[in-house]
Amino acid sequence: MKNLVEVKNIKKNYGKNEAVKDISFNIKEDEILGLLGPNGSGKTTTIGMLLGLLKPTSGEIFINGQKLEGNRIEILEQINFISPYIELPKKLTVKQNLTVYGKLYKINNINERIEFLSEKLRLKGLLNSITGELSSGQKNRVSLAKALINEPKVLLLDEPTASLDPEVGDFVRSFLEDYKKEKKISILLASHNMNEVTRLCKSILMMKDGIIIDEGNPEELINKHGRKNLEEVFLKLSRSKNELN
């Protein structure tokens, strides 16, 4: 499997504050990589750099073999992002929002794409609803549809199931598993939901204070740290000093 995402020695400083300190990782095709870490560990900064919203102080990022710096537009055509902290315009209907983003991502067959995604994400009956009037679960599925409108090769997910009830959360996780399997895409999942990460991710990066303090698959990490589950591993690493294990 080839690497769709290659991150090489990226650093990000805000003045004297080192938000991300020389981290490197890859995400393979058909892989979900979990990005874990306490608040302020550098997860969002890392995602921001992968999206081209933040300029790394140093280091390089390659998406599907192309260097991000200098190829931002071509790369943005191949990636997408979902976060509970960003929303779609509330006054537009679901279909209008998806059409707008279909146009922005230069999708040729927008109606077919919307039809396909609304079928898969249980949005059929909501296409003419006002986005701002939807429930959290419905909005989340609409945001997911927007994030998939361009058939991204790389999907960046920041807390994709935060504030969702267990049923909708489970639906979204199952959908992501199936979609990744079908389309062979790479997913970077930043989450504080350890069950979600254990279920979806074969590999995990643990970040703290801007560095990767540990990595591996969930089972390996649990055994290595002698804990019962990933949540306990997370707590141990979050409370420890920054020493590479």
């Binding site: 921001g48 071509e74 943005l76 992002f81 927007k146």
Partner: protein, 258 residues
């Protein structure tokens, strides 16, 4: 009570645009109305033969105001709806974002302008069309300046985040005293005149008055209006790109909070 006071006090002291906002509103209002009052007190017969001049200038100024605010609104809408990040991760070049905002702002301004123009004739017996073919050049010049101001404010929003919003609403008022919208430039103190001559506005409104009052056209005024518009437009584009790069370094694009 004190807690609520502190909440706003801390917010103001943490944000330079908010402090500036508090100071310049009264200053600008007093300055603008001071010059208008001064003009009418000393030139009581100036508009005797051209009753439509003030109204025409008001419509022209409103077009400028609508264009600039319209542009800012388009940008602010994305921040208010928390859609800003989605927009900036879409595969659009900065030039494409600006072009689409410029075109949309024109449509918004025209929607506001057309009813105003149509109403002035039946209500006041005045037609802005009296400016003739040169009306097009005056509107085009105002549109360019409105867009330029919009781009400058958007650059500020990118650079400083939503706290720059108050500046967005008041840029037009900041420039109004120097624009010589309702009075000729001679009414301004000499220092202000020098500043006013660096803005395209003074040439546009001087020319509108010249056409309506003297029934003559001074091409030089239109030329200078476009010249300064060109200079400021290019500067605004450069500043927008610069602000975008600063925002990428500072993280403003992913952190559009207070």
């Amino acid at each position: 009570m004190y807690g609520l006071f502190l909440r706003h006090f801390y917010l103001i002291t943490r944000s330079f645009p908010r402090v500036l906002d508090l100071v310049y509103w009264p200053t600008i209002q007093i300055t603008l109305w001071g010059f208008i009052s001064n003009f009418f007190a000393t030139h009581t017969t100036y508009y005797n033969n051209a009753v439509g001049v003030i109204l025409t200038c008001a419509i022209l100024y409103d077009f400028l105001f609508r264009t600039s605010i319209g542009f800012n609104m388009l940008f602010l809408e994305e921040i208010w709806s928390r859609n800003f990040t989605n927009l900036f991760i879409a595969p659009m070049k900065i030039g494409e974002i600006l072009t689409s905002l410029v075109a949309t702002a024109l449509i918004r301004a025209l929607i506001g302008l057309i009813p105003a123009v149509l109403l002035t004739s039946p209500l006041f017996g005045i037609s802005i069309l009296d400016l003739g073919i040169f009306l097009f050049f005056l509107f085009l010049s105002l549109y360019l300046f409105g867009i330029t101001l919009g781009i400058l404010v958007s650059a500020g929003l990118l650079r400083y985040g939503p706290s720059f919003e108050n500046i967005a609403w008041s840029t037009m008022f900041l420039l109004a005293p120097f624009g010589c919208i309702y009075y000729p430039i001679e009414i301004l103190p000499e220092v202000f005149q020098k500043i006013a001559y660096l803005l395209p506005l003074v040439y546009i409104f001087e020319e509108a008055r010249n056409i309506l009052i003297n029934q003559a056209v001074d091409i030089q005024n239109i030329y200078y209006a476009f010249l300064w518009n060109g200079v400021y437009f290019v500067l605004s584009i450069i500043l927008f790109y610069y602000s975008f790069n600063v925002a990428k370094n500072k993280g403003t694009l992913i952190n559009m909070g207070e």
